[in-house]
């Protein structure tokens, strides 16, 4: 926990000042800066109306889900801009297309050579549409596998930043084997000879998240969620009413502390009070440190140990009794 609650107010003031600056500039230059102003204004509005968590009022699971999805929530790019140098984005699955919802390439994670894979929701309306709000088509997972091949070949640890509502549910995605791509990507991760550290930084939606989530370590930010199904879909099926999503969120136990307790993740990465969007640098620093620490620890293991540890980690998950 790094930021005191007063930071929300400070952030609001800062953002408002920037909106004002931009408006002045627009007037003075005659340039249309709406593309820059609108999102800022929306963010100001969101923060103003957002339920302000009092220091003594823990958030409900549903509130966290909303926070994890908020338009102002930092995306993978916000973090990699702060944590990664020498990044080369590599495009395409060498089969059909380049997917913009799941991107990656080699770079240095605070100096450490790694292969980066990240789900990217986009930072404005146009890019959100282009990136399908972080929902990959099969080509995204196939590109991920190709990059994992390169990671294995060159001994680069894999870092996955997970942030997706789920794999894209479209006709073409089905035609081109969405399920196959996810299954093969899971298998590809099981077979990695290099360390893999995964961090859920927003939404961890179902198989679309797990496809790049089979790490030696799986971390999650404090206000991120990870679940087999979204609260809305779960509510639609079990309550026959997607408006019951808050109830479903409670039942699914999908928040970071829940997942830590269930043994699904190794560590919860703290966010500034009120959420990562309120102090991006602090949020990035915490993410960078946690991922880096696990990379360094895993660096001591050899190929066999890495594969065995990863396999054992996932083989052990599940709850049952035995007669």
């Amino acid at each position: 926990m790094t930021t005191p609650p007063t930071d929300l107010k400070a952030t609001l003031l800062k953002l408002e000042a920037r909106v004002h600056d931009l408006e002045v500039t627009a007037r003075e230059t005659g340039q249309n800066l709406d593309a820059a102003i609108h999102p800022l204004r929306a963010e100001v509005e969101r923060l103003r109306t957002a339920p302000v968590p009092a220091a003594n009022a823990p958030m409900t699971r549903w509130e966290r889900v909303q926070l994890a999805r908020a338009p102002g929530r930092p995306t993978a790019h916000d973090y990699t801009e702060r944590l990664v140098t020498d990044f080369t984005e590599l495009h395409g699955d060498r089969n059909f297309a380049d997917d913009h919802a799941l991107i990656g390439g080699p770079g240095r994670w605070q100096g450490r050579p790694v292969m980066l894979l990240m789900q990217q929701k986009g930072r404005d309306t146009k890019s959100r549409v282009r990136r399908r709000f972080g929902m990959s088509n099969p080509e995204g997972y196939r590109k991920a596998m190709r990059l994992m091949d390169l990671a294995d070949k060159f001994g680069l640890p894999v870092v996955c930043l997970i942030d997706t509502p789920g794999a894209y549910p479209g006709i073409e995605a089905e035609e081109r084997g969405q399920a196959w791509a996810i299954a093969e990507s899971i298998q590809r991760m099981v077979r990695l000879r290099v360390p893999a550290v995964c961090a859920v930084i927003g939404e961890g939606g179902s198989g679309g998240a797990l496809a790049i989530g089979v790490g030696n370590r799986v971390l999650i930010q404090e206000n991120a969620w990870y679940s087999v199904i979204s609260p809305e879909s779960c509510a639609a099926i079990l309550w026959r009413d997607s408006a019951q999503a808050p109830k479903a969120a409670e039942a699914l136990k999908l928040t970071a502390p829940d997942l830590l307790e269930l043994g699904i993740v190794e560590e919860v990465i703290p966010e500034p009070v009120g959420g990562a969007h309120l102090d991006l640098d602090a949020a990035a620093a915490a993410l960078g440190e946690a991922v880096g620490r696990h990379l360094d620890e895993l660096g001591k293991l050899n190929e066999q140990e890495l594969k065995a540890q990863r396999a054992a980690r996932f083989r052990a998950l599940g709850a049952f009794t035995e007669s």
Partner: protein, 303 residues
């Protein structure tokens, strides 16, 4: 023909565990009424319209394995309610109901047996139990069966039938996708074949994990197979779905499965395939399929 032999060896009979209170069954596809005895003799494929009726796990074992060869592995692992999940009904109550209905602890039946003499380890999902949904027990039993196959050195055959992961175990269900994948690695390490048979329906996390990383993927005619359910897709794209979308034949055309195989040919198909993949000497039992027998090629007259 191989099919004749198959039937000679498997005459209709009253089965243990499958009581037939009604004399007739109405085919869900063509709505015709069919004698249960005829249906059973035809392996629950409608003689009128060829519809492949969904099979309870025990019947599936009978359809696939040599008579009397099945030795059950599963059954000792039981589900719990790790999240204390409560929707309109408590998960624990749902479980009890499904257990009573099916007589199984969960939606999975595994064991060993043989197919035309060839030893296999088999896992069959049971759609009758909570829509074949995959929770911790399904994941664990499939993993154990795959590991057993690797240990005793048999091919692994899995029959999928599932609506996907079980919501009531949330992230623990999701993790079964990775767990089963890990367990299947032992087969790869030992060079043992893994064949999956996708039946109606196979969707969600099951399709997106163990069911589709098989060496060979068979599917039953007409089976619905996909990641997202048709309704979810329709809600997303707000347009109607193409004819035959997500059906086995559609997936064959799109390169996703190795073949659509009529249930009455499963044993022959598996025996022929696994015999070659395990490099067994050609058997005394002829299971030959020469290329011209495939439906595709029979359309081509010799030049």
């Amino acid at each position: 023909m191989a099919l004749d032999r198959f039937f000679r060896r498997r005459r209709p009979q009253q089965q243990a565990g499958s009581d037939m209170p009604d004399l007739w069954t109405q085919c869900p596809a063509c709505k015709e009424s069919v004698y249960n005895r005829d249906l059973e003799a035809n392996l629950w494929v409608c003689p009128k319209c060829n519809h492949h009726i969904r099979l309870e796990a025990g019947r599936r074992v009978e359809v696939l394995l040599d008579e009397g060869s099945f030795v059950q592995l599963s059954g000792r692992v039981h589900p719990t309610d790790p999240l204390n999940f409560q929707d309109t009904e408590a998960y624990s109550d749902r479980l009890v109901r499904a257990q009573k209905k099916t007589g199984r602890p969960d939606a999975i039946l595994t064991g060993t047996g043989s197919i035309l003499g060839l030893p296999v380890t088999l896992a069959v999902m049971d759609f009758a139990f909570s829509g074949g949904s995959m929770g911790s027990v399904v994941g664990e039993e499939i993993s154990r069966a795959a590991e057993h196959a690797a240990q005793i050195g048999t091919p692994f055959v899995l029959v999928a039938a599932s609506g996907g992961a079980r919501m009531q175990e949330s992230a623990l269900s999701l993790m079964q996708m990775a767990k089963t994948t890990v367990a299947l690695e032992g087969l790869t390490a030992r060079g043992l074949p893994y064949v999956s048979i996708l039946t109606d329906p196979t969707t969600g996390g099951v399709t997106a994990s163990f069911a589709t990383i098989a060496d060979v993927i068979m599917a039953e005619p007409g089976a619905l197979i996909g990641f997202a359910g048709p309704r979810v897709i329709q809600q997303t794209i707000r347009q109607s779905l193409p004819e035959g979308f997500q059906r086995a034949e559609f997936l064959l055309e799109h390169g996703m499965i190795d073949d659509v195989v009529d249930r009455r040919n499963h044993r022959n198909f598996l025996a022929g395939l696994l015999g070659v993949l395990t490099r067994r000497a050609p058997d005394a039992l002829p299971t030959q399929q020469s290329p011209e027998q495939s439906s595709e090629q029979s359309a081509e007259a010799p030049a």
